[in-house]
């Protein structure tokens, strides 16, 4: 019998004696489902995941079976206790990131009335990016097998298509474009506690390219002690006791589900809603009414974020659309010295200012928070940082020719962003919805956005795993 096996047996014996910081040889199967469903239908289901996880899981299964929800990914990871596993389903997207400005020497001398000449704008660098889902998990099974503390990291990226940037207009009026990809990404990275065999909603958000649809990230963890696992020299299949001791919580402990909703409503209505939402006795009814109004269409449910967070822990959830924009532009006419004939010709045509480098900015919502739960389950001390960025569109700026010229004006385009930011630390009573922020939106004339937040705490005790 070799040394590591003896160590394992001794370690397990210590666990049986009730000592902590020993990793039992559990086998863990983690399944993550990514589900799309109507946002209206998702709101009550999200709340149900905290109060009745089993019922919520069954409801979700029924929605999938009836075709009222779509399973977009089902990722499975098998690992030993305390070991990291990864599952991913991705598609590689390649796109040019740098484009050489056309070499003036390659552009033939201009002749008035001439047919368009050939142009060349070589791509000098490509990037690759994975779209799809990547799921990493590191589970730590609490002695007894009922609770699992997990380090989880999920990143979901959509590639809905390309965005075209005008690079120039040829003499015959043909427009030339650069194509850049558009990505939507969301996900989170955190510690959380899950109950064996019960689904836990680890994240939820709205789709950036279809605001009527919500996406749910549902994790279910199954554990088993391999029959006769003690006969296995599984030293390689165990995390270090020190790491396990750090991540497995001491029971009892708690976790809170943070629910964040953002509505966009006409400003006149928003002011009325604001008064109701500030009143703790009327806030829940106002929330229900706001939801109902989104069905009629006078207001919009712009975002739903829902994540669990452990006591004394911090987490980040994001739902972004990457907006690319031109960063460096060629000089109009590619720096060619214009002749009289050219100037004459340019009265009838426009020239471009081709971009040859791009930057990106993340549009959407980021919720970053830290929480400390009170012992009586009365609420959560929340330190919160909520940021949102919107893209208004491209502003048009003149790019040439010079003043006084009779040539047609050309333009370059720069993005116009608006953003809001709320940073706060406050006590959030358990299950009490509160108005987090109220912003007038410059991007949407006459409209404002209302952000609401709620925390629901859940307690975990040292329950034995049912046989």
């Amino acid at each position: 019998m070799n040394a590591s096996f003896r160590w394992l047996l001794c370690a397990f014996a210590a666990a049986a004696c009730g000592e902590d910081a020993v990793v039992e040889p559990w086998q863990v199967r983690s399944e993550l489902q990514i589900v799309h469903l109507d946002a209206q239908r998702a709101v009550p289901l999200i709340a149900r995941f905290t109060d009745d996880a089993k019922g919520a899981g069954e409801e979700l299964r029924q929605l999938l079976a009836d075709g009222n929800a779509t399973l977009t990914a089902h990722l499975i990871v098998r690992t030993g206790n305390g070991l990291r596993g990864v599952a991913e389903q991705t598609t590689e997207v390649r796109y040019p990131t740098e484009i050489s400005p056309s070499d003036p020497s390659l552009i033939p001398a201009w002749k008035p009335g001439a047919a368009p000449e050939s142009v060349h704008f070589p791509v000098t660098a490509f990037e690759r990016r994975q779209s799809g889902s990547t799921f990493e998990i590191e589970p730590f099974v609490h002695p007894g097998g009922r609770l699992i503390a997990v380090n989880v990291k999920l990143n979901v990226v959509d590639y809905p298509g390309i965005q075209r940037f005008e690079s120039s207009v040829r003499a015959d009026g043909t427009k030339l474009h650069w194509e850049q990809p558009v990505f939507h990404s969301r996900g989170n990275s955190r510690h959380l506690i899950a109950r064996a065999d019960l689904p836990v909603l680890i994240g939820c958000c709205k789709l950036q390219n279809n605001k009527r649809v919500a996406e749910l990230h549902v994790l279910t963890i199954y554990v088993r002690l391999l029959n006769g696992a003690l006969a296995l020299d599984s030293g390689k299949l165990q995390a270090s006791p020190a790491k396990s001791a750090e991540l497995v919580p001491t029971l009892p402990c708690s976790q809170a589900r943070i629910e964040f909703h953002r509505f966009i409503v006409p400003t006149a209505d928003g002011l009325k809603w604001r008064a109701l939402l500030l009143d703790p006795s009327r806030v829940e009814a106002a929330f229900e009414n706001l939801l109902a109004e989104t069905k009629i269409g006078s207001s919009e449910l712009a975002e739903i974020l829902s994540v669990p967070i452990r006591d004394k822990d911090r987490g980040v959830f994001y739902n972004w659309r990457e907006q690319r924009y031109e960063m460096e532009l060629s000089m109009p006419g590619h720096g060619i010295q214009w002749s009289k004939e050219q100037e004459e010709a340019f009265r009838r045509i426009r020239i471009g200012t081709p971009p040859f480098a791009f930057e990106k900015r993340d549009i959407g919502e980021t919720l970053e928070f830290e929480s400390v739960h009170d012992d009586q389950g009365m609420g959560v001390e929340l330190t919160l940082n909520s940021q949102g960025t919107s893209f208004r569109g491209f502003a048009r700026w003149p790019a040439g020719p010079s003043n006084g010229s009779q040539m047609a004006q050309t333009y370059y385009f720069e993005p116009d962003f608006t953003s809001h930011h709320t940073s706060a630390a406050f006590h959030l009573p358990n299950r009490q919805r509160v108005l987090l922020a109220f912003h007038k939106l410059p991007a949407l004339d006459g409209r404002c956005e209302i952000s609401l937040i709620r925390a629901v705490t859940e307690h975990f005790t040292d329950e034995p795993k049912p046989q």
Binding site: C10, H74, L75, V86, P122, L226, L237
Partner: protein, 234 residues
Amino acid sequence: MFPRLASVALLAMLASAPAQASDEAWKIHVELQAIMLPAKDALALLPELSDDKSMPAAWAKVEAMLADAKAKISAILLGQTQGEKIEVRQGEDVRYATEYTTPWPIQHPADDKAAPKQNLGVAFGPTAFEIGKTGVMLTASAEASADGRRISVTATAEHVWMLGWQDFEQGRLANNDKLIIKQPRFASAKTEGAFALNSGERTLLSIHRVPGSETEMELFILRTWTTPLNGGKK
């Protein structure tokens, strides 16, 4: 209290057991089957495939579907080890250009005075290549328990597909024809983990949509088993 004491006593007995069991040597077989089947059938089978107890019955259904040609095998990868790392792959190497020269006009020979003045065309030759590996790949290392009944596995299973070619515009000719370079588009499904199985047991490693298909899914099913090596003695 008593079960806990009993387990401690059992563990103490095991820990002090003679070392004869470690003299046995085992060859470990690792088999990955990648199986494509209609998404509807795959999702219906998923609860059974996911549960270790119902896996044998679910596997029998998969075999029946294979026999009826309702399911198709993408790959069967088989490896053997006595503890060393196994790498098995079935696939294709796709070579593609990553860098090109500046386009230049293709001209008629200078001494061909009868040739028309216009150019024959434009060329931009590739100057650098990369290779993309497609197909199903299994990387695994495994160790057996002394009695050969349990196997610890560290496995990575991946299927890479080439979805097609993507066009990138590099410029325009005078007649407005586009100068295009083509780049490949790959998709992959991958899972990695370290876990333990009983010898002979099958387990579902992954279920994923087949890229480009709305109606088909693929299963990765891993099976490991041991056979005695040299009569079971090291």
